[in-house]
Assembly symmetry: C2
Homo-oligomer: 210 residues x 2
């Protein structure tokens, strides 16, 4: 196996280092976050830092890296308190990836891609039309992460839309059937196939033969 | 599309709700965290809450849910300050999933599964042998998340081992080639195929024809 010590990593060139470290946490969710400001100016941007934080209440986190990425999305969330999370599927990966370009806050990525905004049920932020999963969230709280000047924003689900054919009887959403992709590193997009769902696990006795 | 309001979600039965909300954040990383206490008692447990938080310095987060999961892993990290993150690959999903059973802190999951511990380079926590990516981390800081009593532990990479055939010339780690899996919801495991790596994106001009 190839080995990197802490010191080896520190001395790597920048691009190699961000490819390496961004890949080595494992697969990440692939989402578009939709926002608008108080004047109705919309924004949509790709994020791989959306995390499930809990189901009761239903809360998700998003990590913002203000030092490396324009803060348009973060600023709009702080203005209105609302945002949407929409899942990226195979057919839109190029447009979704393009939203990572550094547009000014006066420009809407909805105007430079084929991504379409969708407003519904009076929710105060744009969903991305045709995404198989669309989630409307309300800002709850945030945490400033000291070690690297990032901000973890925590929001609660207010509205959830799911393509009917992905939703199973027990609440499981089959993301693979929806062609939802995952992200590998900074720029890799993968498609998936469900191997199996495994049962709830109980302890087994430890015998001398184990 | 199937629609759930905040109130609909609140009134769902517990199992349906956790399946639904745990699936709807998108794919999650699939990792085994290895620890030992000050007496050398080892532990290995599955986590789907490992997140990349930054590359400079190289830091990852892990979200712990103390109210729903035994805190063996968290307590051992706090005792020694060290832990390992190891990627789950197709051949070990059943054993990895079994580590979710609620064993007491006196029992090591290494003794009830075929997972093997591996100590190397004097790192003060066990790696999981044969995993294509093995990462040694040092505890840095933690954040208490008020809304749901969870704890985000932030650690810095001290040592990184990667199967040679996954590492590309620019630092990208091809997780699909390593048969690294991702998690869908509470209990779904997926295999992946790399669709493409996309280029760094620059803005394009907005014309009247866009």
């Amino acid at each position: 196996m190839k080995y990197f010590s802490k010191q080896n990593i520190k001395e790597l060139n920048h691009l190699f280092k961000i490819n390496l470290i961004d890949s080595c946490s494992g697969f990440k969710s692939a989402n578009l976050i939709g926002t608008q400001d108080n004047l109705g100016k919309t924004n949509v941007a790709i994020f791989s830092s959306v995390i499930h934080m809990g189901s009761e209440p239903p809360v998700f986190g998003v990590l913002f890296r203000p030092t490396s990425v324009p803060r348009n999305t973060y600023e709009k969330i702080k203005q209105t308190g609302f945002y949407t999370i929409n899942h990226i599927y195979e057919a839109i990966i190029e447009d979704a990836h393009h939203t990572s370009a550094k547009y000014s806050k006066e420009q809407s990525e909805f105007d430079v891609t084929t991504l379409e905004k969708e407003f519904k049920n009076k929710f105060n932020a744009p969903f991305v039309k045709y995404c198989p999963i669309q989630i409307g969230l309300k800002y709850l709280e945030e945490y400033y992460i000291k070690v690297n000047d990032t901000i973890l924003v925590v929001g609660e689900i207010q509205a959830l839309y799911i393509d009917d054919k992905l939703l199973l009887d027990d609440g499981f959403i089959d993301l693979s059937t929806g062609k939802v992709v995952a992200i590998n590193g900074l720029d890799g997009y993968v498609k998936t196939n469900l191997i199996d769902r495994l049962n709830y696990q109980r302890t087994k006795a430890i015998t001398p033969f184990n």
